[in-house]
């Protein structure tokens, strides 16, 4: 094992060295640092050309410059972007944060949704639902991201913002949406006709009621989770989490979740109106504090589970932790949403909250909550555009792997033992179907740190991809090379991690030295 790791690392380094040379040569041949001066009529252009040639050592052959660069790079000196005089490590730092912000949420959402839909699709193999998902997945897969991004801007930003000027959904449209949702829902649920009709009806009714409620309470302009919505949503969370985590039969687990709901409702008022107020926490709020509060919620949830203990207190604690965290998140969300009206009315926003460029609105000001809101109005479209595309991939992948697992002998054995279907699917099927995912997710995640070049450029987010393109256009080799080497390094690293992870998860795989 150790020898395997060492060998892989050494090979990786050699690969990195060779690829850095190749990349350096390619970039060097591509760019022309004197291009802007060549067509300038400025009388000083010749002098500047001379200076620049001297500064960048352009008269030396490229490999000489490569070795100079390499020498500095391995000692940790990434160089200076000569056009702006800024140090490359500086540039990388801020770009990486922006990229992580963008891709982390998109990746997590794509994995969670993609895997969930893929699993359902696999369980309903060769049904209309399965075909529908397959069709949708291939459609999304084949859409060019620049086009999706522009469509999202046109409809998701310009269209939605226009809608917000007078947010009324016509009754026939509400009925239409409800019917379509009901139809898709019954496809996913499956079963006999009666079951399908009941589910379709319930789903359609729920959607229609929610839309109507939103319309009647002016929810689009004043989004909030009042007592009604908070209670309904929390109960929904409690039931879903319990079902997936332990099954509703486990009463202690269910009571734990319900206790969390009750506690959430009790704490809603003091937390939302006093803890999260200007007099208390607001001036000190940042993501660190928010995370800390989230951890507290998890702790409290686990504690409740432990109080309901029994022979299997760990299960209750798990259910409690997840439920409490989600319910706490709802309260956080409600606080953020309460600034929606003020945000829309801000001069910097002018009643058009969904933004298409940058990662923050200029001249907005505002406290932590407004800042969070602002970040997400800028994040939502690029995140959606990244998500739609990678979501499709995960759907296909998890469907395939789930199908393979569900046809294994041990699944039949499990069923024969009389274990209920939920346990068979969630414990024996789902978990094992995730093993192959372990080998693609690291590669995907680390690949995404390279930045979504096109998405970042179109939404004008100052991330890694943007750094690369902008500097390539500016004929600035230092940041371009730093970017390329980091990406190459991460790609190699990701592959090694994927191999090791796979071996760790699946005892049947042996890593041969």
């Amino acid at each position: 094992m150790l020898i395997f790791v060492i060998r892989r690392v050494l090979m990786g380094l050699a690969l990195l060295l060779v690829s850095s040379f190749v990349m350096y040569m390619l970039v060097d041949f591509t760019i022309d640092p004197l291009s802007d001066l060549r067509t300038s009529t400025d009388p000083s252009a010749p002098l500047q050309m001379e200076q620049r040639t001297e500064m960048l050592n352009l008269n030396a052959p490229p490999w000489v410059r490569y070795f100079d660069w390499l020498g500095a790079f391995v000692t940790g000196d990434f160089g200076v972007a000569w056009r702006t005089g800024r140090s490359v490590s500086d540039l990388l730092g801020s770009a990486m944060i922006s990229t992580l912000q963008l891709v982390s949420f998109a990746t997590v959402a794509a994995i969670v949704l993609g895997v969930a839909v893929g699993i359902v699709s696999a369980l309903r193999q060769y049904t209309t639902f399965d075909y529908l998902i397959t069709f949708f997945a291939f459609l999304m897969f084949s859409l060019p991201s620049f086009w999706v991004a522009v469509l999202l801007k046109q409809w998701g930003a310009i269209g939605f913002n226009d809608f917000l000027a007078d947010p009324v959904i016509a009754i026939p449209v509400i009925i239409g949406i409800a019917v379509v949702t009901g139809f898709v829902w019954q496809l996913a649920v499956g079963g006999d006709l009666k079951r399908r009709v009941i589910h379709a009806g319930l789903a359609a009714l729920a959607v229609a009621l929610v839309l109507l409620y939103m319309q009647l309470t002016d929810w689009w302009l004043r989004p909030r989770l009042d007592w009604v919505l908070l209670t309904v949503t929390s109960l929904g969370i409690a039931l879903t989490v319990t079902t997936l985590s332990t099954g509703l039969r486990n009463r202690r687990s269910l009571y734990t979740a319900l206790s969390c709901v009750a506690l959430g409702l009790v704490l809603y008022y003091p937390v939302r109106y006093f803890l999260f107020s200007n007099a208390w926490l607001t001036p000190y709020m940042n993501y660190g504090v928010a995370l800390l509060l989230g951890l507290v919620a998890i702790g409290v949830g686990a504690l409740i589970g432990w109080l309901w203990r029994g022979p299997d207190w760990k299960q209750s604690a798990r259910t409690g932790a997840i439920s409490a965290f989600l319910i706490a998140f709802l309260i956080f969300l409600d606080k953020v949403m309460s600034y929606w009206g003020a945000y829309m009315a801000a001069p910097a926003i002018g009643g058009r909250p969904i933004q298409t460029i940058g990662d923050r609105a200029p001249n907005l000001g505002g406290n932590f909550w407004v800042q969070v809101l602002d970040q997400y109005t800028h994040l939502i479209l690029p995140t959606l555009s990244l998500m739609l595309i990678s979501f499709a991939g995960y759907t296909r992948f998890s469907r395939g792997s789930m199908l393979e697992v569900m046809n294994q002998d041990y699944i039949r054995t499990a069923r024969a033992k009389g274990i209920n279907e939920r346990t068979v699917v969630m414990r024996h099927g789902f978990r094992n179907s995730l093993i192959p995912l372990a080998s693609i997710i690291p590669v995907d995640v680390i690949g995404l740190i390279g930045g979504a070049l096109i998405t970042e450029r179109i939404f004008s987010r100052p991330g890694m991809g943007q750094l690369f393109i902008a500097n390539l256009n500016a004929d600035d080799i230092a940041p371009v090379m730093a970017y390329l080497v980091i990406i190459a390094f991460l790609a190699i690293l990701a592959n090694i991690i994927a191999d090791l992870l796979y071996a760790a998860l699946d005892p049947r795989i042996r890593v041969n030295a």
Binding site: M55, A157, T282, G341, N363
Partner: protein, 628 residues
Amino acid sequence: MKIRRLTAFVAGAAAAALAITACTPPDETGDDGNTGGDDSGIVTDTAVTVGWNQPFYEYNTSSATGNATANANILYLMQESFNYYDPELNLVPNEDFGTYSIVNEDPLTIEYVFADDIAWSDGTPVDAVDLMLQWAATSGNLNTLADEDIETDEEGNVVNQDEVDANVYFNGTSATVGYITEVEVSDDNKTLTATYDRNYADWEVNLTGAAVPAHVVAMHALEIEDPTEAKQAVKDAIENNDTEALAKISKFWNEGFAFGDTLPEDTSLYLSNGAYLLTEMVAGQYVTLEANPDFTGAHAATVERITVRYNEDPMQQVLALENGEIDVMAPQATADLVEALNDLGDDYTVETGIDGTYEHVDLQVTNGGPFDPATYGGDAETALKVRQAFLKLVPRQEIVDKLIVPLNPEAEVRQSYNVVPGSPMYDGVTEANGQAEAFPLENDVAGAEALMAEAGVETPVDVRILFAASNARRQQEYAIMAEAINGSGLFNLVDASSDDWGSMLSAATDQYDAALFGWQSTSTAVTAGNANFGTGEINNFYGYSNPEVDELQDQLSTETDPAEQERLLGEIEAHLVNDAFGVTIFQFPSVTAYRNTVTGITPITISPTVFYGFWEWGTTGDTADSEG
């Protein structure tokens, strides 16, 4: 705990929750009825938001790194200067900043007098010492280390840093400021007298203001607390040529004004002496400027705030304009873009015009190709006739009609090698140069045939055209040229396009016979053309040499009377036409689009383009940054 007791506890908690439900929540009514119960801290001022394609990154626009349009635009809003261009490209003196005049013709001596009340935003007056530092820095005359002594590795990291630090090295050198060999500052620091070592025609645009405040440089470089003392220190250092102090000053001048991700905490690093103060910056995204309350000049801010946001992709700027995120945009014009802008509707104004770059075709005369006398055994006459015949066939009007008029309905063929259309000398120069008659817009095929017959050259002659391979517009131009010229049967165009065209112009002269590209004008300096046409000059890639042109250029470069400059330019261009040096085709089209709620936008042809006339901007209600 027993389950039953816990159930009781939960029930009690639920009851408590319900009881609290009955309470009225705290007052949630803010100014809009929904602020979450407390002050949101949102800024309520209005602004005009301009979209631009490259972010601002450095305050010192004269340094080697800061010299970029993106920086110059922002500084135009922050700093006054001795003169500025008006929409007709006249150079207008700005007496709010100071006055200047020629006090002696031989040697050329200029006296700059600063206005009494012009001051940096920290209260220190803007005066002759600031201009003195500008001269010291950009003339390069005080540098004790020549450029070639700087040893760098590939990254631009200076290897011999210690040696550089010990020497005076200002990195933003302008050759023409170097013509000023002596400056003298009066005792009250209000007057600077600059003496040239030669007559220089474009002296008026040579030294126009100070890029950075001298006292700030000295306060940082020499660690002086008091601004007045710091100013004096700069003056002393330059007057006494104190290399130790100047070395520190030059180092700070080169590097001290570059910004990181946000504005530096030290506010002295971005002082203003003009209409706006820089108040916020997010690297790569936007800068915000606010009206300077202390500024009293004529170009005072009329709009409370100006925000400049960045997006490299013009089509995305159109969407941002439509979504209310920007109010004004002035990208490079393309057909798709103009169409998208026109589709925006009546709430927006789209104005087309010309920008500072012009397209032209130049001929290689020393590469052994069809335009080189050597090809015809040194027969200059024959080569000239072939060149003239070729240029007569270049379909200039057709190119303009097909490619440029759709973007700028008023586009015309440019007829001058030196002067920007619409600038004061354009009409006079184009009348004198005769380009319109020699190379008529209606292609003179008969004339070309006659010339080729006289030349007695076997036709068709192959002509290799060098242009940027991946530039769509130049591909189309080539296609139009090929169709028109090949049709005559006299010439046969060969596509010699390359992505490496920029370096091929000078490095691979035997690879092409004619070059199609654009020159960019950054000012109306009349001497700029010498680099293109003078014998052996840097931008003369073609071996063109005419002693009379060189002689006229010499006269021009020392001529300070505008009428005489115009006459000389006319004569130079007449030679270029007679020698069939090349033809000029069109001025690049520009487009400016803005929301109708912004008024007073009047872009000019050269830098600062759309930012010109910001003192006349106004808003009528809803801008990207105001309440709807």
